[in-house]
């Protein structure tokens, strides 16, 4: 059984570094052009090159999404872009256009081409088709369950990648135009307005079925959390486990990537129930919507949906990032992200380390004054911290 890849998203260079530091084997990013997630910060070529350098220095890979469903006028410059990506050392492009995949193979034969989930691969025949086109990897449709994945994987046609965590399209990826028709934003070119998460009044012929707007119909999906299925996915010989969310924060990435890294590395070394409990507890500290197991256990029932709720759960657990640590005086200089006070229980978590708790005993603001409460986002303060930390560690609140 080959080592499974943990693949993480990143919206900018800093987040790419965080994902790699916390254990991602590969990171996928979007360029300024040709990519979905129009609202993600996205990278220019210099930033992509810097991300590649960092990734390769840390034995990680870097993939670039070129995954929109192109209209003719979107395609200008695509060949030059692919050549540039290849020249700066991108390991793979993730594409939703077979013509672009073919073009990439023609002009950059050494750069891998991964087929995006936008092309909805759900069966071996589709993988055989992609294999005949000399493509390198397939991201399966989210609708595949464990049975489908096992059956596909047994045939060993192409390496397969599956989603394990993050937002879920409720509709078939690449086949939904709700946003196009309702808001004139093209869902398949990065403008999705998430119209599926809105509320709809439902009528049988002309009879309103539910009058209370709190109970109106919504297609809104819970987010995916496939942690309980990771052992099965690894046994199925899946090549890559993908976390969704190029627009997610560094705190989210640190928490989620760290949790899955720990899970993957500890399978077969730790009691599975304990490990799973620990992983779920850790994943719940990230700002997810409520989560469920996706399609892995079969077609979702009502427990896979959000009715009457929208948006990610707002969390104030993320307290700050560490700039440096004074080992002699046991003082950490941090950038504040959410308010905290003296006597609050906090914990430090970092790459490849167990969280460590402490009680805040002293806070010094940027003017050198002792304060009871740090409540200005992005203010730099110094706190007493009784154990050594590094500038790759994060501080969060200990929740009851």
């Amino acid at each position: 059984m080959s080592k499974v890849e943990l693949l993480a998203p990143a919206g900018d260079l800093h987040r790419a570094k965080v994902a790699i530091d916390f254990g991602a084997d590969a990171v996928f990013i979007g360029g300024k052009q040709f990519s979905l997630r129009a609202r993600a910060s996205n990278f220019d070529l210099d930033e992509i090159e810097a991300a590649i350098r960092y990734a390769h220095q840390h034995n990680a890979k870097l993939y670039v999404t070129v995954n929109m469903i192109f209209h003719d006028d979107d395609l200008s410059g695509i060949k030059e872009y692919l050549i540039n990506l290849n020249q700066i050392g991108v390991d793979a492009v993730i594409v939703a256009s077979l013509a672009v995949a073919h073009l990439s193979k023609q002009c950059c034969p050494n750069m891998e081409v991964h087929v995006s989930t936008q092309l909805s691969a759900t069966n071996c025949a589709t993988l055989k088709y992609f294999e005949s086109l000399n493509l390198d990897r397939v991201v399966l449709a989210r609708e595949c369950d464990l049975e489908d994945i096992n059956l596909i994987s047994k045939q060993a046609i192409l390496p397969i990648e599956v989603f394990i965590h993050g937002g879920m399209c409720v509709n078939l990826s690449g086949r939904c135009t709700l946003s196009n028709y309702m808001t004139h934003r093209d869902a398949n070119r990065g403008g999705c307005a998430q119209s599926c998460r809105w509320k709809y009044e439902c009528f049988d012929q002309d009879n309103q079925l539910v009058s209370d707007s709190e109970n109106w119909f919504s297609m809104s999906s819970k987010d995916l959390n496939a942690a309980p299925y990771i052992p099965d996915l690894i046994k199925a010989n899946v090549s890559s486990l993908k976390i969704e969310g190029r627009m997610k924060s560094e705190y989210y990435l640190a928490t989620v990537v760290g949790a899955y890294r720990q899970l993957i590395d500890s399978i077969d070394k730790q009691d599975e129930n304990d490990l799973m409990e620990q992983t779920i507890k850790e994943l719940n500290k990230a700002e997810n919507r409520p989560t469920f197991g996706g399609f892995y256990g079969g077609r979702p029932n009502n427990a896979g949906h959000l009715y009457g709720v929208n948006g990610a759960g707002v969390t104030q657990e993320f307290i700050g990032t560490i700039l440096n640590y004074d080992n002699i005086n046991r003082l950490a200089t941090i950038v504040v992200r959410n308010h905290f006070s003296i006597d609050t229980w906090l914990e430090v978590f970092g790459p490849y380390k167990q969280p460590q708790k402490f009680v805040v005993k002293k806070i010094i603001n940027s003017e050198g004054q002792l304060i009871e409460r740090a409540n200005k986002p992005m203010e730099i303060v110094t706190i007493e911290l009784p154990f050594e930390v590094t500038n790759k560690d994060y501080i969060r609140k200990v929740m009851p």
């Binding site: 003719d72 055989k128 939904c176 309702m182 934003r185 079925l209």
Partner: protein
């Protein structure tokens, strides 16, 4: 220009052919999604028999993704139909296209994925790698569609009339919803109307064994451009018959066949007194890929 539409009833065949339909699409509940009516394999064979005797082309429609665990059943169903002389397979799934092309090299493949064929490069690629005809993405503007027709002519299929499918989910969304609110309502193969909280227009929705599908409430019609498409030798004019009565399908087919002008069509449409409206959808409204620019 061929005129293609779905048929579910034996009685509809002759009126459709008389109205100008050249190619009838048939399917089974297993092979296709999105239609409130269904056809058993036996009924399908009978329809094909009648259509063939009337000189009409027949296409087998497979308009959904086939999951790997269903593949064996898919192959069995295709085996049951192997003696039927189809002229075309209309497919939605690249794996289905790849398989049928190998098994039935003489049957032409129309690739119809609703959304993904949105540029000349991809259409050209697919025409060289498995498809004989490609259906253009429904959501493109008329001008973008016309640009493609000018390049590919009879290798393209365009949806000229019908409620446009806006989304397809593999989840039974209505079943889940009514379960959540504990309402006992018969769902499968019945259509519902939906109205978004902030909008006045209605959408149509349907759940079948393959999932949940949402459609435009208005019929989207490109019939006013009929002559232009004919001049550029468009291959197939598709009448998407979901939710349309037979009388309307016949009227549209006659309009396409005889090239009636749009005013004549609208007058005849109004005389049918249907509870339906005709709209333009995205035919003249380009979409943006930027959230900030959107409406």
């Amino acid at each position: 220009m061929k005129i293609i539409t779905e048929v579910f009833k034996l009685e509809s065949i002759q009126p459709y052919i008389d109205s100008g339909v050249t190619t009838l699409m048939v399917t089974t509940p297993f092979l296709s999604a999105k239609y409130p009516e269904s056809t058993s394999i036996e009924k399908l064979k009978a329809i094909v028999d009648v259509a063939k005797r009337a000189g009409c082309e027949v296409a087998l429609l497979i308009n959904r993704l086939i999951m790997e665990k269903e593949w064996h059943q898919f192959e069995q169903e295709i085996d049951h139909l192997k003696m039927v002389e189809f002229d075309y397979f209309v497919v939605h799934d690249l794996g289905v296209m790849f398989t049928l092309k190998q098994k039935f090299s003489k049957v032409e493949i129309i690739f119809h994925s609703d959304t993904t064929m949105a540029n000349a490069l991809d259409i050209d690629f697919l025409l060289h790698h498995g498809a004989d005809v490609v259906a253009v993405a429904r959501e493109l503007t008329h001008q973008k569609k016309l640009n493609l027709v000018e390049k590919f002519h009879n290798k393209l299929m365009l949806s000229l009339f019908g409620h446009q499918v806006m989304s397809t989910s593999y989840r039974p969304l209505l079943t889940n919803y009514f379960q959540e609110i504990q309402k006992d309502i018969k769902i499968e193969n019945r259509w519902f109307k939906m109205r978004e909280q902030q909008r006045s227009e209605f959408y149509l929705a349907l759940e079948d064994q393959h999932g949940f599908h949402m459609f435009t409430g208005e019929i989207i019609s490109a019939l006013k451009h009929l002559q232009t498409y004919k001049e550029h030798d468009l291959g197939f004019a598709y009448i998407d018959s979901a939710f349309l009565p037979e009388s309307l399908v016949c009227l549209v087919a006659q309009t396409i066949k005889h090239g009636y002008d749009h005013q004549t069509f609208l007058k005849a449409f109004n005389q049918l007194n249907l509870d339906k409206t005709i709209g333009e959808g995205l035919l003249y409204t380009d979409t943006t890929n930027q959230k900030e620019e959107a409406l």
